[in-house]
């Protein structure tokens, strides 16, 4: 019972955070409300007994990625006059709702036809570091290595793009 209440609390918070992200004018306000969405999604993962994903969501997403984005937003020192004035914002939003709603309707209908499953919290042998780690390093070893190469390429690319210019180019 309490799981249901927590789910609806987290769902409400995450939808409000996402609405704040797409409606606030200043990116700083949007980023702060997006953090609310990320933290309530971490709560969802805990309710789905994905302990490792819960911790990684908090540390990597809400911690590292969002603080990187906030750092860049503060670093660029954006004033209200630097923001793009978005005259067609409500127009595009209405048009987007018209385009998206049939797709959303189809997706929701498809989701509704799934078999109902038990969603109680599994306490043992599911979603911990040991179980997910064994799966990751046995069955998913090749994707893991490819992702490590991807991270290396992204690191080098970011340094090349944003690094100091003019020294020896």
């Amino acid at each position: 019972m309490i799981v249901t209440y927590m789910f609806f609390g987290f769902a409400l918070l995450s939808i409000l955070g996402a609405l704040g992200l797409i409606l606030f004018k200043h990116p700083m306000n949007g980023a702060m409300s997006f953090v609310v969405t990320l933290i309530s999604l971490a709560g969802m993962y805990a309710l789905l007994s994905a302990k490792l994903i819960f911790a990684i969501q908090l540390i990597v997403y809400a911690g590292a990625i969002m603080s990187l984005i906030l750092f860049i937003i503060m670093f660029l020192n954006i004033q209200a006059k630097d923001l793009p004035d978005e005259p067609g914002r409500w127009f595009y939003l209405g048009g987007g709702i018209v385009v998206i709603s049939p797709i959303a309707y189809l997706l929701l209908k498809m989701v509704k036809s799934l078999p109902a499953g038990d969603t109680g919290i599994i306490e043992q042998d599911f979603g911990g570091v040991k179980e997910v780690g064994q799966l990751l390093f046995r069955d998913w070893l090749l994707p893991f290595e490819i992702v490590s190469i991807l991270l290396l390429v992204a690191l080098v690319g970011a340094v090349v793009l944003a690094g100091k210019r003019g020294a020896n180019t």
């Binding site: 939808i15 994903i53 990187l68 989701v111 799966l135």
Partner: protein, 98 residues
């Protein structure tokens, strides 16, 4: 109960698409893309719970790694464009227009 999680995932994904469509601020567009990645992650984890198999957790971790790489690269590009143009408007960044 599991379909509620997937409902939420679909709703968050659609909100992300709406953010990409309706906004012109580069940061908001970028965070809306992150929102779509998160909605996909919620779907993965919910289906992993439904089938009591942890492949969805591994996939969610891989998606997070991709999101981290994307954040680093996209923010580098945003800094570079801000240095060149001094604006955050996505309509100005049309350098590849023929």
């Amino acid at each position: 109960m599991i379909e509620h999680y997937l409902f939420l995932s679909v709703i968050l994904f659609c909100l992300g698409i709406l953010g990409v469509i309706s906004r012109r601020n580069v940061f908001i567009v970028f965070m809306a893309i992150e929102l779509m990645l998160n909605a996909a992650n919620l779907g993965f984890v919910a289906l992993a719970r439904l089938h009591v198999s942890m492949d969805g957790h591994v996939l969610a971790m891989l998606v997070m790694a991709v999101a981290a790489a994307e954040a680093a690269l996209a923010l580098a590009v945003v800094i570079l464009l801000h240095k060149h143009k001094g604006k955050l408007d996505t309509n100005i960044f049309s350098l590849l227009r023929g």
